[in-house]
Amino acid sequence: MPDDTLFSEVLDPRNRADPYPIYKKLREVPVSRQRDGAYVVSTHAAIRALLFDPRLSSEDLPPSRRPRTGNPLRDWILNPIKNRIATSHRPLIFRDPPDHDTLREFVMKEFTIHRVNGLHGRVGSLVDDLIERCRGRDEVCLVEDLSYPLPVAVICDLLGVPEKDEPQFQKWATQLATALEPDARHDEASRHATVAAFDEISSYMRKLIRRKRRHPADDMLSGLAKPGREGNPSMGDIDLISTAILLLVAGHETTVNLITNGMLTLLRHPDELKKLKADPERAPRLIEELLRYEPPVHFRTRKALGDIKIEGTTIPKGAPVILLFAAGGRDPARFSNPNRFFPDREDNQHFGFGGGLHYCVGAPLARIEAEVALVALCRRLVEPELMADPPPYRSGASLRGPESLGIRISGINR
């Protein structure tokens, strides 16, 4: 009889620093039913199969997996993003085909290789600036000093948010990101702050879109807001706003985690740090390995629209399905020595960016950000040393990452 409470251990913040032994136990039953009726999918093969199964829906987080407090208002606030936009404008990550595809196509058309690669220089100077600000200190708080501010600045640049509005954006991003944590403790003040942030960013976006329509520039929002040609309508305003907010939210905490996990992992594997410093060309492989070994997104939830037979289990219609990407990344049936951090690994097909139709839109951008940041950190921080291992983690189990990462340094290289 498989243990049907393992997933609650995954959610338990006490296991945040090292959830991998629980994943190992979970993989013994590739698709395992939990006491609350959710099905956890933890082997590489089963995750892969389900990512390409048309019966899994992203439309609605099943009610059983929504945080419940017993107080309807409080519930509503705890799911602010979803509830705020569920009825009117759901972002594409929570939509199924065919609507999803139409929206995604618009985004992809604007998320060109050209535009993303064009951000490389900007990411470089942002990273250099942020590191430069730590000069004279003997410790770096990586999350606060670099991981956290970088992605927001980059997304602002991508979308075409004027630089003077960026500090405002940083505030909204912080507020909305904490609101995304399913089990975060929200007090009265933070609830209000979240709702306010959401309304503010929405109305800000509305104005910005109007401005982009009048004075289009070479940025993504201008591209998305372009009036459509005949028979080829562009996105409606509401979808535009929710897409812009999605890009901010989906590309924020995730990238923070990748950079922070990356530095943490390098500090735990000093050889790899040295190698990267000597040969920055190693970065792409190293980042792929990070996405397998310490992915920023540990799982995503879907809903089964029909009975799905898989690996000897039948997931019944309506059941929540948890795709435990991070467990698939450590599956010994797919990866040899899965618990070894080994950037030279061949055929590294991880689920760091998900897979199938919701595969991360921002993957190329995230790779650039992580690459530039990690290479610069390795090169410039002199004698970096972890101050606490494990570091304190944020409470989220899905978007899992350190809350802060103190690094002692003896200087900063030019």
Binding site: P54, R55, P97
Partner: protein, 442 residues
């Protein structure tokens, strides 16, 4: 003595299956001598681009060489056909009378284009497409802007060629005995979607049309004479009637081989006339006809790229394994084709299908995924630019799920069932080759 210690392995047929088989032997640790015999003068090359990018002029025929994924360290005997097999003496003889001994033989001689059976097949201006030279010759003929191209046969290669010719701005007529293109491969319901695309692209498709002969003017093809007496003007003809095999050198050696293939047991070993496998002779790729467990053990060839690769690897594995460790080869056929701006991907076998359902997309939009049922089971799926969910249907086909298999997808409208509309099998008198129905690249 185990095969691993054997002094020599010979592979006959230097193409996709031959190369992948050789690589697999090396990958599995075979270090002994290896000889690869091929009647074409070239190192193994890839055929799918020949009827696509090469005809379109995007890729030179010489640029199709297949990369060696593992160094095969073989002795190559290229430009030499194997002409005789002596099973008792375990030797093969080449066209130049060289005799090669073998301890283990892998036959990967594939197939060739079925020639036009009527008069005029050899006239200048009449082409087929199977090899690199065929494609190069056809490409340079097309570059000279023939006034009227006639394609005989609406199978995958005929349709791909028609698509390329239209892209080149040539006037194209395609004739087929069936009511729609691809009727034998995918049925008329799906074939009709191709007919619509052809029409939009400006191809003149003539169904129910039988060509009897080609006639010439000034020593060059000028027209096709039809069975009903009519004619079609053409200064360039592409004959795309599917494939057949020249297996005479094997039949003479007492193996079950004919134009439809070389019969093997489930472990890819060639079957002898006495009804037992020859433990020293294996086959893979387009040549091999074997009892596929996924088709209820019916003997079939699968003439697709993916099978050549997989079966060659499987045969190589069995060649190195002991007699009591011979594994059966099960394979779910799959192929792709690109034509008329659509990517077609198919999986499973439509043979004998009696039902079809459009499960995603729609025929009106031209993007859809259709599944085929046979006696209540799901047996095949085909995608026209709608391949996203194909893997899910693949696993349904592999486990023989009831038809239709998936009814609760996110993007499904209510599903209607139709008849797939396969043409009646040819009469025996019409075709000397009973494998016509099985040959998907007809």
């Amino acid at each position: 003595m185990s095969a691993v210690d054997d002094p020599s392995i010979v592979i006959v047929g230097a193409s996709l299956a031959g190369l992948r088989g050789a690589e697999a032997l090396r990958d599995s640790g075979y270090t002994g001598p290896l000889t690869i015999v091929g009647d074409e003068p070239y190192r193994p090359y890839d055929r799918p681009p020949l009827s696509k990018h090469v005809l379109a002029g995007d890729l030179r025929a010489e640029a199709t060489e297949l990369p060696q994924l593992t160094a095969v360290r073989a002795q190559w005997r290229l430009g030499q056909a194997a002409v005789a097999l002596d099973r008792a003496g375990r030797t093969i003889r080449l066209a130049d009378d060289t005799v090669l001994p073998y301890r283990s033989l892998l036959v990967t001689t594939g197939a060739r284009a079925r020639p036009f059976p009527g008069a005029g097949a050899g006239l200048p201006g009449v082409h087929t497409i199977r090899g690199r030279d065929d494609a190069a010759a056809l490409r340079s003929a097309l570059a000279e802007k023939p006034r009227r191209v006639l394609i005989v046969g609406g199978g995958l290669i005929g349709c791909e060629a028609a698509s390329c010719c239209r892209d080149l701005g040539l006037s194209v007529t395609l004739v087929d005995p069936n009511p729609t293109p691809l009727a034998r491969v995918l049925g008329m319901l799906v074939g009709n979607s191709v007919a619509v695309r052809m029409k939009d692209a400006g191809v003149s498709f003539r169904p129910h049309t039988h060509v009897k002969a080609f006639e010439s003017r000034n020593g060059k093809v000028a027209r096709a004479r039809l069975e009903d007496g009519g004619e079609i003007e053409a200064d360039l003809v592409i004959v795309a009637l599917g494939a057949e095999r020249d297996a005479r050198w094997l039949a003479k050696a007492g193996l079950l081989a004919d134009g439809g293939g070389l019969t093997c047991d489930a472990a890819c070993r060639a079957m002898t006339g006495e009804g037992a496998p020859d433990p020293h002779i294996y086959a893979a790729g387009d040549i091999a006809r074997w009892p596929n467990p996924l088709f209820g053990d019916r003997l079939r060839t699968v003439e697709h790229w993916g099978n050549a690769v997989e079966q060659a690897r499987h045969a190589a594995r069995n060649m190195l394994a002991g007699r009591d460790d011979q594994k059966a080869y099960a394979h779910l056929p799959a192929f792709w084709s690109s034509q008329f701006d659509v990517n077609i991907k198919a999986i499973g076998s439509t043979e004998g299908a009696d039902k079809i359902a459009i499960v995603h997309g729609s025929r009106t939009s031209g993007r859809f995924l259709a599944v085929y049922g046979r006696a209540g089971r799901t047996v095949a799926a085909v995608s026209f630019d709608e391949a996203r969910w194909l893997p899910a249907y693949e696993s349904q086909i592999a486990c023989g799920a009831p038809f239709p298999p998936i009814l609760d997808a996110t993007d499904q409208a209510p599903i209607d069932h139709f008849s797939p509309g396969f043409p009646a099998p040819r009469l025996a008198s019409e075709s000397a080759d009973t494998t016509e129905r099985e040959s998907i690249h007809a």
